[in-house]
Amino acid sequence: MKKDDHVTGDEMIMAVIDKDGLTPEKQAHLAACPVCHSESERLAGDLAAMGDMAKAVVPPMQTTIMLPEAKVLQPGRPWGLRLAYGSALAAALVVLMLAVPFFRIMPSGRFEALYQDMLSDARLMIAVDRMAENPMPESWAVFEDEFDAVEDDDFMDGIAPGGEDFS
């Protein structure tokens, strides 16, 4: 076998990457020639060994892979109970709808009467207070003030002539 028949360096690489990339003649030579076969195996061995050594460098995995959360349907309430809740809600809505006009009419009359009652009570209480403080009529009350203010015996005689002096 001539030296020129040996596979070249580029063909050697191609043989390692993809043997089918070589011509049939070169493939046959590679299989038959111990020198070329050895070279090819050596390169392939180096690359494979590099992969194995890299694998040995990797530290072991310390966590476990978790699956995504399963989409589990929550157990629902029984249909009878759902129906009861639904009916109750519907009834409450109906009552509310009916009651709204009633509440709209009632306040104007009811609150007016209540307001008048409270006003009347307030006036009455004011009058009672005044009566308690001033039991005599108002005109007398003014007179009484003047009487207290002016202690004049002549004046008193004029009011109650001939009265005895009990002081």
Binding site: V16, I17, L47, A49, A54, K55, P59, I65
Partner: protein
């Protein structure tokens, strides 16, 4: 390498399709089955891209939630695996966009870049193993930064997440020839990473 090389946990495709169909109809047992099938793969895929255990766990959770929320939108249930990875890739890209945006407001000294080293310190491991792991990851990160965004994505999906060419094409919504081209470029750059290859072969401490 065949396209089916990386089928998750050697689940037969008809079983997977049936499981996806059941999950679409809301079967929680089927959803749990899908989580068991792909949880580790998606978590690892996210960790490679974030370098942070807690972020990777949170994102994995979010990805599965999103997948189950949108499962009814998946037309071809046979394409569940690439679709799942597509959701994951998009979610991780969102994460990086958000992180980049937040980095404007966070001082560089407070940022967390790369994998958290305490995360890597598994129990029952020798100090040497831990050092090698750190060194390996540093080299991988440096290599990834030399790749373009698409080269990095196809390289990771092919050789770290063990997806086939057709699946990567579906995940990234690119043609298979585009995927192969970018994969070719990425592998060519990988060949120049002598220190990384030395670590892989156990030739360098």
């Amino acid at each position: 390498m065949s396209d089916t090389a990386g089928q998750a946990k050697a689940v037969a495709l008809p079983d997977l399709v049936a499981c996806v169909e059941q999950a679409r109809s809301g079967d929680r047992h089927a959803m749990n089955e899908l989580i068991c099938m792909f949880r580790e793969d998606i978590y690892r895929m996210v960790y490679y891209r974030t370098g942070n255990r807690m972020d990777a766990e949170d994102l994995t959770q979010e990805i599965f939630l999103k997948v189950f929320d949108n499962l009814k939108g998946l037309k071809d249930t046979g394409m569940f695996r690439p679709w799942l990875y597509r959701v994951a890739v998009n979610r991780v890209n969102d994460y990086h966009r958000r992180k980049k945006f937040l980095s404007f407001f966070i001082p560089a000294s407070e940022r967390e870049d790369g994998p958290e080293m305490e995360d890597m310190q598994h129990t029952n491991e020798s100090v040497l193993d831990q050092v090698i792991k750190k060194e390996f990851w540093r080299e991988v990160s440096a290599f990834m930064h030399k790749l373009s965004k698409l080269e990095r994505e196809v390289f990771q999906l092919r050789f770290m997440d063990h997806l086939g060419i057709a699946e990567i094409s579906a995940v990234l919504n690119r043609g298979e020839s585009t995927v192969k081209t970018h994969l070719y470029r990425a592998v060519k750059k990988f060949q120049t990473e002598e220190h990384l290859i030395g670590l892989i072969r156990g030739e360098e401490p």
